[in-house]
Symmetry: C2
Protein backbone atom coordinates (compact mmCIF):
# COMPACT_ATOMS: atom_id res chain seq x y z
CA UNK A 1 0.00 0.00 0.00
CA UNK A 2 1.52 3.30 -1.05
CA UNK A 3 1.22 6.33 1.16
CA UNK A 4 -1.32 8.90 0.13
CA UNK A 5 -0.40 12.56 0.21
CA UNK A 6 -2.31 12.98 3.44
CA UNK A 7 -0.61 10.05 5.15
CA UNK A 8 -2.47 7.17 6.63
CA UNK A 9 -4.54 7.94 9.67
CA UNK A 10 -5.56 4.60 11.04
CA UNK A 11 -2.35 2.63 10.47
CA UNK A 12 -1.95 1.56 14.08
CA UNK A 13 -5.15 -0.48 13.97
CA UNK A 14 -5.23 -4.11 12.88
CA UNK A 15 -8.72 -3.87 11.49
CA UNK A 16 -10.27 -4.49 8.10
CA UNK A 17 -12.62 -1.53 8.48
CA UNK A 18 -9.74 0.84 9.23
CA UNK A 19 -7.66 -0.69 6.46
CA UNK A 20 -10.40 -0.27 3.88
CA UNK A 21 -11.03 3.29 4.99
CA UNK A 22 -7.33 4.02 4.48
CA UNK A 23 -7.98 3.21 0.82
CA UNK A 24 -11.38 4.82 0.29
CA UNK A 25 -12.15 6.95 3.34
CA UNK A 26 -10.92 10.28 2.05
CA UNK A 27 -13.48 12.88 1.08
CA UNK A 28 -14.76 12.29 -2.50
CA UNK A 29 -13.15 8.88 -2.99
CA UNK A 30 -16.28 6.77 -2.55
CA UNK A 31 -18.24 9.12 -4.81
CA UNK A 32 -15.59 8.62 -7.49
CA UNK A 33 -15.90 4.86 -7.05
CA UNK A 34 -19.71 5.20 -7.18
CA UNK A 35 -19.42 7.05 -10.50
CA UNK A 36 -17.11 4.41 -11.91
CA UNK A 37 -19.78 1.79 -11.17
CA UNK A 38 -22.26 4.06 -12.97
CA UNK A 39 -20.08 4.14 -16.09
CA UNK A 40 -17.76 7.12 -15.61
CA UNK A 41 -14.30 6.57 -17.05
CA UNK A 42 -12.76 9.88 -18.01
CA UNK A 43 -11.51 12.70 -15.84
CA UNK A 44 -14.18 15.04 -17.21
CA UNK A 45 -16.92 12.51 -16.41
CA UNK A 46 -15.79 12.22 -12.81
CA UNK A 47 -15.36 15.96 -12.52
CA UNK A 48 -18.84 16.73 -13.81
CA UNK A 49 -20.55 14.05 -11.72
CA UNK A 50 -18.78 14.58 -8.42
CA UNK A 51 -18.30 18.33 -8.65
CA UNK A 52 -14.97 17.87 -6.85
CA UNK A 53 -12.23 20.43 -7.46
CA UNK A 54 -9.94 19.30 -10.29
CA UNK A 55 -6.80 19.14 -8.18
CA UNK A 56 -8.60 17.11 -5.51
CA UNK A 57 -10.05 14.78 -8.12
CA UNK A 58 -6.65 14.28 -9.76
CA UNK A 59 -5.14 13.45 -6.40
CA UNK A 60 -7.88 10.95 -5.58
CA UNK A 61 -7.65 9.24 -8.97
CA UNK A 62 -3.86 8.91 -8.60
CA UNK A 63 -4.27 7.35 -5.19
CA UNK A 64 -6.92 4.95 -6.46
CA UNK A 65 -4.53 3.84 -9.22
CA UNK A 66 -1.61 3.48 -6.78
CA UNK A 67 -3.80 1.36 -4.52
CA UNK A 68 -4.88 -0.89 -7.40
CA UNK A 69 -8.54 0.07 -7.34
CA UNK A 70 -8.49 1.81 -10.72
CA UNK A 71 -6.23 1.17 -13.69
CA UNK A 72 -5.31 3.72 -16.34
CA UNK A 73 -6.13 2.77 -19.92
CA UNK A 74 -5.05 5.04 -22.81
CA UNK A 75 -7.90 6.16 -25.06
CA UNK A 76 -6.06 8.77 -27.17
CA UNK A 77 -2.48 8.96 -28.48
CA UNK A 78 -1.58 12.57 -29.44
CA UNK A 79 -1.47 13.70 -26.74
CA UNK A 80 -1.88 10.50 -24.78
CA UNK A 81 -4.92 10.56 -22.53
CA UNK A 82 -6.10 7.97 -20.08
CA UNK A 83 -9.39 6.77 -18.74
CA UNK A 84 -9.88 5.10 -15.40
CA UNK A 85 -11.44 1.69 -15.02
CA UNK A 86 -12.17 -0.34 -11.94
CA UNK A 87 -9.85 -3.31 -11.45
CA UNK A 88 -11.12 -6.61 -10.04
CA UNK A 89 -10.09 -5.28 -6.62
CA UNK A 90 -12.08 -2.13 -7.33
CA UNK A 91 -15.12 -4.18 -8.34
CA UNK A 92 -14.94 -5.77 -4.88
CA UNK A 93 -15.96 -2.38 -3.47
CA UNK A 94 -19.41 -2.85 -4.95
CA UNK A 95 -20.94 -4.17 -1.69
CA UNK A 96 -19.68 -1.04 0.07
CA UNK A 97 -21.39 1.20 -2.48
CA UNK A 98 -24.56 -0.89 -2.38
CA UNK A 99 -24.68 -0.73 1.42
CA UNK A 100 -24.34 3.07 1.31
CA UNK A 101 -27.07 3.24 -1.35
CA UNK A 102 -29.46 1.08 0.65
CA UNK A 103 -28.95 3.01 3.89
CA UNK A 104 -29.56 6.28 2.07
CA UNK A 105 -32.61 4.93 0.25
CA UNK A 106 -34.11 3.93 3.58
CA UNK A 107 -33.19 6.87 5.78
CA UNK A 108 -32.56 9.86 3.52
CA UNK A 109 -34.91 9.21 0.60
CA UNK A 110 -37.59 6.95 2.10
CA UNK A 111 -40.12 5.94 -0.53
CA UNK A 112 -38.30 7.96 -3.20
CA UNK A 113 -35.03 6.20 -3.92
CA UNK A 114 -33.12 8.20 -6.54
CA UNK A 115 -31.83 5.08 -8.28
CA UNK A 116 -33.25 1.56 -8.42
CA UNK A 117 -30.91 -1.40 -8.74
CA UNK A 118 -32.44 -4.22 -10.75
CA UNK A 119 -31.32 -7.70 -11.77
CA UNK A 120 -30.47 -7.53 -15.49
CA UNK A 121 -31.38 -11.17 -15.97
CA UNK A 122 -35.02 -11.05 -14.89
CA UNK A 123 -35.74 -7.43 -13.98
CA UNK A 124 -36.28 -8.21 -10.29
CA UNK A 125 -35.35 -5.73 -7.57
CA UNK A 126 -32.17 -6.27 -5.59
CA UNK A 127 -32.66 -7.15 -1.92
CA UNK A 128 -30.78 -5.93 1.15
CA UNK A 129 -28.61 -9.03 0.80
CA UNK A 130 -27.74 -8.27 -2.85
CA UNK A 131 -29.97 -11.03 -4.13
CA UNK A 132 -32.71 -10.85 -6.73
CA UNK A 133 -36.09 -10.60 -5.01
CA UNK A 134 -37.73 -12.29 -7.99
CA UNK A 135 -35.47 -15.18 -8.98
CA UNK A 136 -33.25 -15.44 -5.88
CA UNK A 137 -29.93 -15.14 -7.74
CA UNK A 138 -26.94 -13.78 -5.83
CA UNK A 139 -26.04 -10.55 -7.60
CA UNK A 140 -22.69 -8.93 -8.38
CA UNK A 141 -21.87 -5.64 -10.09
CA UNK A 142 -22.12 -7.11 -13.59
CA UNK A 143 -25.59 -8.51 -12.90
CA UNK A 144 -27.31 -5.26 -11.99
CA UNK A 145 -28.54 -2.23 -13.88
CA UNK A 146 -29.49 1.12 -12.43
CA UNK A 147 -32.81 2.74 -13.31
CA UNK A 148 -33.96 6.19 -12.43
CA UNK A 149 -36.09 6.05 -9.32
CA UNK A 150 -38.86 8.33 -8.16
CA UNK A 151 -36.25 10.62 -6.56
CA UNK A 152 -34.75 11.36 -9.97
CA UNK A 153 -31.09 10.53 -9.34
CA UNK A 154 -28.55 10.33 -12.11
CA UNK A 155 -28.33 7.14 -14.10
CA UNK A 156 -25.70 6.38 -16.68
CA UNK A 157 -24.62 3.10 -18.14
CA UNK A 158 -25.37 0.57 -15.53
CA UNK A 159 -22.14 -1.07 -14.45
CA UNK A 160 -18.39 -0.82 -14.67
CA UNK B 1 -30.77 16.38 8.99
CA UNK B 2 -28.90 18.87 11.15
CA UNK B 3 -25.80 20.56 9.84
CA UNK B 4 -22.51 19.29 11.14
CA UNK B 5 -19.88 21.75 12.24
CA UNK B 6 -17.97 21.22 9.03
CA UNK B 7 -21.00 21.76 6.83
CA UNK B 8 -22.24 19.31 4.28
CA UNK B 9 -20.07 18.73 1.28
CA UNK B 10 -22.19 16.76 -1.11
CA UNK B 11 -25.54 18.47 -0.59
CA UNK B 12 -26.08 19.31 -4.24
CA UNK B 13 -26.25 15.64 -5.19
CA UNK B 14 -29.49 13.68 -5.16
CA UNK B 15 -27.79 10.43 -4.34
CA UNK B 16 -28.11 7.91 -1.54
CA UNK B 17 -24.36 7.31 -1.47
CA UNK B 18 -23.62 11.02 -1.09
CA UNK B 19 -26.41 11.37 1.47
CA UNK B 20 -25.12 8.51 3.58
CA UNK B 21 -21.57 9.85 3.39
CA UNK B 22 -22.87 13.21 4.66
CA UNK B 23 -23.82 11.29 7.81
CA UNK B 24 -20.88 8.95 8.21
CA UNK B 25 -18.18 10.06 5.76
CA UNK B 26 -16.15 12.24 8.10
CA UNK B 27 -12.82 10.95 9.31
CA UNK B 28 -13.27 8.61 12.33
CA UNK B 29 -17.05 8.36 12.13
CA UNK B 30 -17.25 4.86 10.65
CA UNK B 31 -14.62 3.62 13.11
CA UNK B 32 -16.79 4.93 15.94
CA UNK B 33 -19.78 3.12 14.46
CA UNK B 34 -17.63 -0.02 14.07
CA UNK B 35 -16.72 0.14 17.76
CA UNK B 36 -20.36 0.56 18.75
CA UNK B 37 -21.16 -2.67 16.92
CA UNK B 38 -18.28 -4.27 18.83
CA UNK B 39 -19.78 -3.23 22.17
CA UNK B 40 -18.30 0.20 22.89
CA UNK B 41 -20.73 2.53 24.67
CA UNK B 42 -18.82 5.06 26.73
CA UNK B 43 -16.67 7.94 25.63
CA UNK B 44 -13.57 6.34 27.12
CA UNK B 45 -14.25 3.09 25.26
CA UNK B 46 -14.49 4.91 21.94
CA UNK B 47 -11.45 7.01 22.74
CA UNK B 48 -9.29 4.01 23.59
CA UNK B 49 -10.40 1.96 20.62
CA UNK B 50 -10.28 4.60 17.92
CA UNK B 51 -7.36 6.60 19.25
CA UNK B 52 -9.10 9.72 17.95
CA UNK B 53 -8.35 13.04 19.66
CA UNK B 54 -10.90 13.73 22.40
CA UNK B 55 -12.25 16.91 20.86
CA UNK B 56 -12.66 15.21 17.50
CA UNK B 57 -14.36 12.23 19.11
CA UNK B 58 -16.74 14.47 21.08
CA UNK B 59 -17.65 16.31 17.90
CA UNK B 60 -18.29 13.09 16.00
CA UNK B 61 -20.42 11.61 18.79
CA UNK B 62 -22.50 14.79 18.96
CA UNK B 63 -23.08 14.68 15.23
CA UNK B 64 -24.04 11.00 15.36
CA UNK B 65 -26.61 11.82 18.06
CA UNK B 66 -27.95 14.81 16.11
CA UNK B 67 -28.34 12.62 13.05
CA UNK B 68 -30.19 9.92 14.99
CA UNK B 69 -27.56 7.22 14.61
CA UNK B 70 -26.63 7.13 18.31
CA UNK B 71 -28.80 7.98 21.30
CA UNK B 72 -27.47 9.17 24.65
CA UNK B 73 -28.47 7.09 27.68
CA UNK B 74 -27.52 8.22 31.21
CA UNK B 75 -25.52 5.65 33.18
CA UNK B 76 -24.56 7.80 36.18
CA UNK B 77 -26.37 10.61 38.05
CA UNK B 78 -23.88 12.71 40.08
CA UNK B 79 -22.52 14.01 37.85
CA UNK B 80 -24.74 12.80 35.06
CA UNK B 81 -22.81 10.84 32.45
CA UNK B 82 -24.04 9.36 29.24
CA UNK B 83 -23.24 6.40 27.13
CA UNK B 84 -23.88 6.12 23.40
CA UNK B 85 -25.99 3.40 21.89
CA UNK B 86 -26.86 2.68 18.29
CA UNK B 87 -30.46 3.49 17.38
CA UNK B 88 -32.43 1.32 14.95
CA UNK B 89 -31.25 3.73 12.24
CA UNK B 90 -27.69 3.22 13.45
CA UNK B 91 -28.11 -0.55 13.34
CA UNK B 92 -29.00 -0.17 9.68
CA UNK B 93 -25.37 0.84 9.09
CA UNK B 94 -24.32 -2.72 9.81
CA UNK B 95 -24.16 -3.73 6.13
CA UNK B 96 -21.82 -0.79 5.49
CA UNK B 97 -19.48 -1.96 8.25
CA UNK B 98 -19.67 -5.57 7.07
CA UNK B 99 -18.87 -4.56 3.50
CA UNK B 100 -15.81 -2.63 4.68
CA UNK B 101 -14.74 -5.61 6.82
CA UNK B 102 -15.10 -8.06 3.97
CA UNK B 103 -13.18 -5.90 1.49
CA UNK B 104 -10.37 -5.47 4.01
CA UNK B 105 -10.31 -9.17 4.86
CA UNK B 106 -9.90 -9.98 1.19
CA UNK B 107 -7.48 -7.31 0.06
CA UNK B 108 -5.59 -6.07 3.10
CA UNK B 109 -5.47 -9.17 5.31
CA UNK B 110 -5.84 -12.04 2.84
CA UNK B 111 -5.87 -15.36 4.67
CA UNK B 112 -5.47 -13.66 8.04
CA UNK B 113 -8.71 -11.81 8.78
CA UNK B 114 -8.34 -10.00 12.11
CA UNK B 115 -11.93 -10.75 13.12
CA UNK B 116 -14.27 -13.56 12.08
CA UNK B 117 -18.02 -12.93 11.96
CA UNK B 118 -19.99 -16.04 12.86
CA UNK B 119 -23.68 -16.89 13.06
CA UNK B 120 -24.55 -17.10 16.77
CA UNK B 121 -27.28 -19.63 16.12
CA UNK B 122 -25.23 -22.39 14.52
CA UNK B 123 -21.62 -21.19 14.52
CA UNK B 124 -21.43 -20.97 10.73
CA UNK B 125 -19.34 -18.35 8.96
CA UNK B 126 -21.04 -15.32 7.45
CA UNK B 127 -20.97 -15.15 3.65
CA UNK B 128 -20.35 -12.15 1.37
CA UNK B 129 -24.13 -11.76 1.21
CA UNK B 130 -24.50 -11.68 5.01
CA UNK B 131 -25.97 -15.15 5.13
CA UNK B 132 -24.88 -18.12 7.20
CA UNK B 133 -22.73 -20.44 5.10
CA UNK B 134 -23.84 -23.39 7.21
CA UNK B 135 -27.59 -22.99 7.72
CA UNK B 136 -28.41 -20.38 5.08
CA UNK B 137 -30.08 -17.90 7.46
CA UNK B 138 -30.09 -14.24 6.49
CA UNK B 139 -28.05 -12.51 9.18
CA UNK B 140 -28.44 -9.14 10.90
CA UNK B 141 -26.30 -7.45 13.54
CA UNK B 142 -28.00 -9.26 16.41
CA UNK B 143 -27.38 -12.68 14.83
CA UNK B 144 -23.61 -12.46 14.58
CA UNK B 145 -20.72 -12.68 16.99
CA UNK B 146 -17.14 -11.63 16.39
CA UNK B 147 -14.26 -13.99 17.12
CA UNK B 148 -10.60 -13.21 17.04
CA UNK B 149 -9.17 -14.26 13.69
CA UNK B 150 -5.67 -15.30 12.75
CA UNK B 151 -4.72 -11.65 12.29
CA UNK B 152 -5.38 -10.93 15.96
CA UNK B 153 -7.77 -8.00 15.74
CA UNK B 154 -9.64 -6.66 18.68
CA UNK B 155 -12.81 -8.41 19.78
CA UNK B 156 -15.19 -7.19 22.42
CA UNK B 157 -18.78 -8.11 23.08
CA UNK B 158 -20.13 -9.13 19.77
CA UNK B 159 -22.97 -6.81 18.84
CA UNK B 160 -24.67 -3.58 19.76
Amino acid sequence: MLDSMLGRTYDAQICSVAGTLELVGERWTLLIVRDAFMGARRFEDFQRRTGAARNVLANRLNTLVEDGIFRRVPYQEHPVRYEYRLTEKGLDLWPVIVALVQFGDRHIYPGRAPVLLMHKGCGGAMSDHRMCETCGAKLGPRDVEARRGIGGGMVASATA
